[in-house]
């Protein structure tokens, strides 16, 4: 079992930090404190953090903050960032207007 799979794993209590109000996800304005708290609420994977808080779900789709969020989550869990799989990338790679997406060239 990898370290993230046991959701009852003891990661200690949430301890407030002075930089908890630092914006991490610029698009959705999610702070470091919100991310850290989410980990203590059981969100142990990048995918869960993303779905719970919307980090990386804004216009840039996590291109700016993915690495930063990963580092914060890993630190809170006491594991290496490399152990955390990034959230799935999804089409479209760049935001695309509905009328353009709808217009398939023959």
């Amino acid at each position: 079992m990898n370290q993230v799979n046991d959701r009852s794993r003891d990661i200690g209590a949430f301890v407030p930090a002075p930089d908890d109000d630092m914006i991490i996800c610029r698009c959705e304005e999610i702070t470091k404190g919100e991310i850290r708290k989410a980990v203590h609420d059981g969100m142990f994977t990048m995918t869960e953090i993303r779905r719970y808080l919307r980090t990386g779900m804004g216009l840039c789709q996590g291109q700016t903050c993915a690495k930063l969020v990963k580092g914060i989550v890993a630190r809170e869990l006491g594991i290496s960032p490399a152990e955390l799989e990034p959230a799935t990338s999804r089409v479209p790679m760049r935001p695309i207007e509905m009328h353009i997406f709808a217009n398939e060239a023959k």
Partner: protein, 375 residues
């Protein structure tokens, strides 16, 4: 950590998480086994967020109505997360006379079981939602329907269940169920054996294969559904939307983005490469569908598309409750793509069934023993 609990739940989606939560509230010890690495990774995080009564089969209608009356209005406070629940009605839109006939049929059936739903004309539709195109000529209207955020709701149940001491284990794929002395007791995974007095099977599509290991066959199959989400837009409307043609459904979220699901007609035959991946033809088709109803959204940018498997049961309603042949097994699967809105009441009733032996809502019509040949 012990591998034994009073109840072992297979599946960490909204049904599994919510059932665990209601059981734990009753003081029951619970282990939840999730096959993927993430909680709520199946339909729970891929659906359109509808909390609907209209358009449902009369057999499941009492259950979802119970949830809308008893659970949804206070769910955000209860789960300490913003479920973004809006009870601002559901419009099911029609563009042709044929559509209106379909809607009338659905409406008649729902009214018969006591749901407040009625047909409205194009003026009334636009009074409710002024952004709709001229093509819309009528709709069915259920004012007590609504929508919520499936991601925060699912993970909210998980969070609270975990807080109440439920053990969740992800990445734990169940291979086999095993009866001991005539009663289902063991749940066997790749590396572990778990034991419970009761085993709840809430593994979505995987449930069929798992149930088969104790000789139970649930008549369901996979169908692919796809959805997409736009960038945030200024607030426009709060209703849940669907269409008679079922070419799209969705709503505007609290965040401002629009979540829409839809179909290209190809999804029943999508190549199964093991993961639900989007088809390149579907999202453009959904966009074309949306623009027919909402030309105003044609400049809205799509930021994400995704796909999910639905556990489609032969008669379109979930399989809930005990299975006589296998004492100890409780089924909670086959929600057929509309399991989100019904999840709180389904889960609470299962918890009642397991702990108290009786339920507030009669689940008889949803039991496994309902499947019969047509003649």
């Amino acid at each position: 950590m012990s591998n034994c609990a009073e109840v072992v739940i297979i599946g960490g989606g909204i049904i599994g998480c919510a059932t665990a939560y209601y059981l734990a509230k009753k003081g029951t010890s619970v282990i939840v086994l999730e096959g993927s690495d993430h909680i709520g990774n199946g339909g729970s995080s891929r659906n359109g967020g509808g909390v609907r009564q209209s358009g449902r089969d009369p057999r499941e209608l009492p259950l979802v109505m119970y949830g809308i009356n008893h659970y949804w209005p206070t769910l955000s406070e209860e789960l300490e997360v913003d479920c973004e629940y809006h009870q601002d009605g559901n419009l099911r839109l029609g563009k042709t006379e044929k559509h209106l006939q379909i809607l009338q049929g659905l409406t008649d059936r729902a009214v018969a079981v006591g749901l407040d739903v009625r047909m409205i004309d194009s003026d009334e539709v636009r009074a409710i939602n002024p952004y709709l195109s001229e093509e819309v000529i009528g709709a069915s209207w259920c004012p007590t329907d609504g929508h919520a955020n499936p991601l925060t709701t699912t993970l909210g149940y998980y969070k609270m269940a975990r807080r109440l001491g439920v053990h969740f284990i992800t990445g734990e794929k169940v291979k086999e169920l095993r009866k001991i002395k005539g009663k289902l007791r063991q749940v066997i995974t790749e590396n572990n054996v778990y034991e419970g007095e009761t085993v709840v099977l809430a593994a979505g599509l995987d449930s069929r294969q798992i149930a088969a290991t104790v000789g139970i066959d649930i008549p369901m199959q996979a169908a692919m559904l796809e959805a997409l989400v736009t960038e945030a837009e200024p607030h426009m409307f709060d209703q849940m939307l669907g269409t008679a043609e079922a070419d799209f459904y969705g709503h505007q979220t609290k965040h401002g983005s629009f979540v829409f699901g839809g179909s290209s007609g190809l999804e029943g035959f999508t190549k199964d490469n093991g993961t639900p991946v989007t088809n390149s033809l579907t999202a453009p088709c959904i966009c074309r569908g949306i623009m027919k109803y909402f030309p105003i959204l044609s400049d809205a940018k799509i930021v994400r598309t995704w796909a999910g498997w639905m556990d489609k049961v032969v008669d379109g309603v979930p399989v809930l409750g005990n299975v006589e042949e296998v004492p100890g097994l409780v089924l909670a699967c086959g929600f057929t793509g509309h399991g989100f809105g019904i999840a709180p009441s389904a889960a609470s009733q299962l918890a009642e069934l397991i702990v108290d032996g009786t339920t507030h809502v009669d689940l008889t019509d949803l039991r496994y023993d309902r499947f019969k040949a047509k003649i």
